[in-house]
């Protein structure tokens, strides 16, 4: 299904969109056939979410609001999956109820 999807999400893990989170983010984006882009403001610039150089280059610290947009096949799924990853603190285990899962 071809389409277009957008979302926004706040980066809430301590270190922001730095090395490990960016690796996870771009790896996930690459799983989808659609184009996926991120921006720090609606005026852009829009950056390729599949490029770690671009995603890291945004240097988004904790508290940054990022905008997501995708167009093409599975755009809805791509945006939802990426937003969920950010909301889960990139699965970095932070802020959980204890050290047990580490």
């Amino acid at each position: 299904m071809t389409g277009f999807a957008t979302a926004e999400v706040i980066i809430s893990n301590d270190v922001g969109l730095h090395a490990r989170p960016s690796v996870k983010f771009t790896k996930l984006a690459k799983l989808y056939p659609c184009s996926v882009e991120i921006a720090l403001s609606s005026e852009g610039p829009w950056l390729n979410a599949k490029s770690i150089v671009k995603v890291m280059g945004a240097k988004a610290p904790k508290g940054t609001r990022i905008l997501l947009r995708a167009s093409g096949d599975q755009s809805g799924e791509a945006v939802a999956a990426l937003r969920a990853l950010v909301e889960r603190h990139f699965d970095e285990g932070q802020g959980d109820a204890g050290p047990d899962q580490a």
Binding site: V15, G16, A19, R20, T26, S51, I52, K59, E92, P99
Partner: protein
């Protein structure tokens, strides 16, 4: 003059950074990058760049094998950067305008490094080291700087060596290290000791022919190039005697150590990174007397988040199975700069380092404190503050620990307050230890204590003779601290390099110490030195010195 004769024996001496012996060919580690020769066409430059980036990515992927998870995740980031076409595309645009592959890649990455360095956020600032690493790896391949393979068992000669270069070598086939400059307390020296790789520093800048046969006796501090029959025989004898002693000592490495007159001595290990524990059977030591945390912050690693730190601490606590694990809070500054954390200073050893830096940058220290508090319920965790020089620094640190513990409690996160002690490395503490009564334990850092007492910078190879922990002034201070600990009922240990040297162990025991923390490769030798010592032998030792 002597065209047919054997090449002359060359004898270079240096300081022992890590004891041991190696016999093998010299390998000169690629020192300066040779200049890049333009290929003549944009197409050829483009092909050269693509090949170099692909080769760098492949080498990076190879280096991930066998690394533990946290180390691998750092390399994975560099790999993702190399596999991303963005830098290549930007370089190709420059190549099309007539620039060489070398200059195009260098310029694109230089701009990126600068951009990260200029960031306000310390986490992003620290990434500039990764970008510089990626830049250099591709440039090295473009200029052929890293194409000579290292022969198995080679004695590698370099001006100095980065920890990542050391770790990238295959040391399983033996070999050794001889650094022209370098320092026994540098990170590469620590790694060599921890892996048991013989290493000398400060051999100087005399001629060393590549591939020449050589013998490295890192116990006597000598590198012999083109050895003759006599020196080979002597080398074999010295090595044989040393191995026999090591084998005899190794037989009892799994038993606790006590002196010849029956006093128990705790022998713990120093570790530089969590991966080290995989090589040490816990039964061979009495816990960890010093776990450094700089590895988490250093070089390409950037500033680690709470979860990364917690993982690292838990890994060691689980391995220790209830034995004490002493983790030192970040000891950056001095000779251990961390991008995004330390401050450039004229005199870094007397500047913002250790606890001073942590208290000046509490936002970074608090992340480490939370990780330590969360790790504490899982073992016998102790936390050690480095570079304390006045009692108020302990109070400030304890207040931060209390605040973060309260915050974790408020969020319902499991945690516990560890014992919090201090390093004794600034003379002010060693002279009046009783003023530092809020410390739960004292651990003497003999390397820094020695450099501060003798006013001799420990990273200066030319001052090597002034860097002995056996100096009577240093031993007097160690004795003062040990006596204070015994009188006040406070545990005192020593975790500097002196504890790893079997020749110094008798002096430390005579000074009153009964807890030593040593390089893992030295456990057997130190235990043997402890077992050979008694109060009666101490009298003789002191009389001789």
């Amino acid at each position: 003059m002597k065209a047919r004769a054997m090449p002359d024996l060359i004898r270079l001496s240096g300081r022992t950074a890590s004891p041991g012996f190696a016999a093998g060919p010299i390998h000169i580690v690629g020192e300066a990058r040779t200049s890049y020769r333009p290929l003549g066409s944009a197409e050829a430059e483009e092909a050269a760049l693509r090949q170099a980036v692909a080769a760098a990515a492949e080498a990076t992927a190879d280096s991930m094998r066998g690394l533990d998870e946290e180390a691998a995740s750092i390399i994975e980031f560099q790999l993702a950067m190399l596999e991303d076409d963005t830098f290549v595309d930007a370089s190709l645009a420059r190549i099309q305008s007539g620039v060489t592959a070398f200059n195009a890649w260098a310029k694109v990455l230089d701009l990126e490094v600068e951009d990260y360095r200029a960031s306000d956020d310390p986490y992003f600032q620290a990434r500039s080291a990764d970008l510089a690493d990626i830049r250099d790896r591709v440039l090295d391949i473009l200029t052929g700087a890293v194409q000579q393979p290292v022969p198995p068992g080679a004695i590698q000669v370099a001006t100095d060596m980065s920890p990542s270069h050391f770790l990238a070598q295959d040391w399983d086939k033996g070999g050794g290290l001889a650094l022209r400059a370098g320092s026994v307390s540098s990170h590469v020296s620590m790694l060599a000791r921890s892996r048991g790789i013989p290493a000398l520093v400060g051999i100087g800048f005399g001629a060393v022919p590549d591939l020449a046969a050589a013998l490295l006796d890192a116990e006597s501090g000598v590198l012999l190039i083109h050895p003759d029959e006599i020196s080979r025989t002597q080398f074999d004898e010295t090595r044989g005697a040393s191995r026999a002693a090591a084998t005899a000592a190794g037989r009892d490495v799994d038993r606790p150590a006590s002196t010849a007159d029956g006093e128990a001595v705790a022998v713990m290990v120093n570790i530089a990174q969590p991966g080290d524990v995989g090589r040490i059977p816990i039964g061979h030591c009495d816990g960890v007397g010093l776990m450094r945390t700089e590895f988490l912050f250093g070089g390409t690693h950037g500033l680690p988040d709470e979860a990364t730190q917690l993982d690292a601490y838990l890994k060691v606590l689980v391995w220790a199975a209830g034995k004490p694990v002493t983790i030192r809070s970040i000891d950056a500054g001095g000779d251990k700069p961390v991008e995004g954390l330390t401050i450039a200073e004229d005199n870094p050893f007397l500047g913002m380092r250790g606890i001073r830096l942590s208290l000046a940058k509490p936002e970074i220290f608090r992340v480490q404190i939370r990780a330590l508090l969360r790790a504490a319920p899982r073992g016998a965790l102790k936390v050690m503050l480095p570079m304390v020089s006045v009692p108020g620094e302990i109070d400030s640190a304890l207040a931060l620990f209390a605040e973060e513990a309260e915050g974790l409690a408020g969020r319902g996160i499991a945690h516990a307050m560890p014992e919090i002690g201090i390093m004794v490395e600034v003379p002010s503490v060693a002279v009046t230890p009783e003023r530092f009564f809020r410390a739960a334990f004292l651990s003497i850092g003999s390397n820094d204590l020695t450099q501060y007492v003798l006013a001799a910078s420990r990273d200066n190879a030319a001052l090597g003779a002034l860097s002995s922990a056996a100096d009577p002034a240093v031993l007097r201070l160690i004795g003062t601290v040990a006596a204070h600990g015994a009188a006040a009922g406070i545990e005192v240990s020593l975790c500097g390099d002196a504890a790893s040297d079997p020749k110094l162990v008798p002096l430390l025991l005579a000074a009153g110490l009964r807890r030593l923390s040593v390089a893992p490769a030295q456990l057997a030798a130190v235990k043997a030195a402890v077992r050979a010592w008694s109060r009666t032998s101490a009298v003789v030792t002191e009389g001789e010195s």
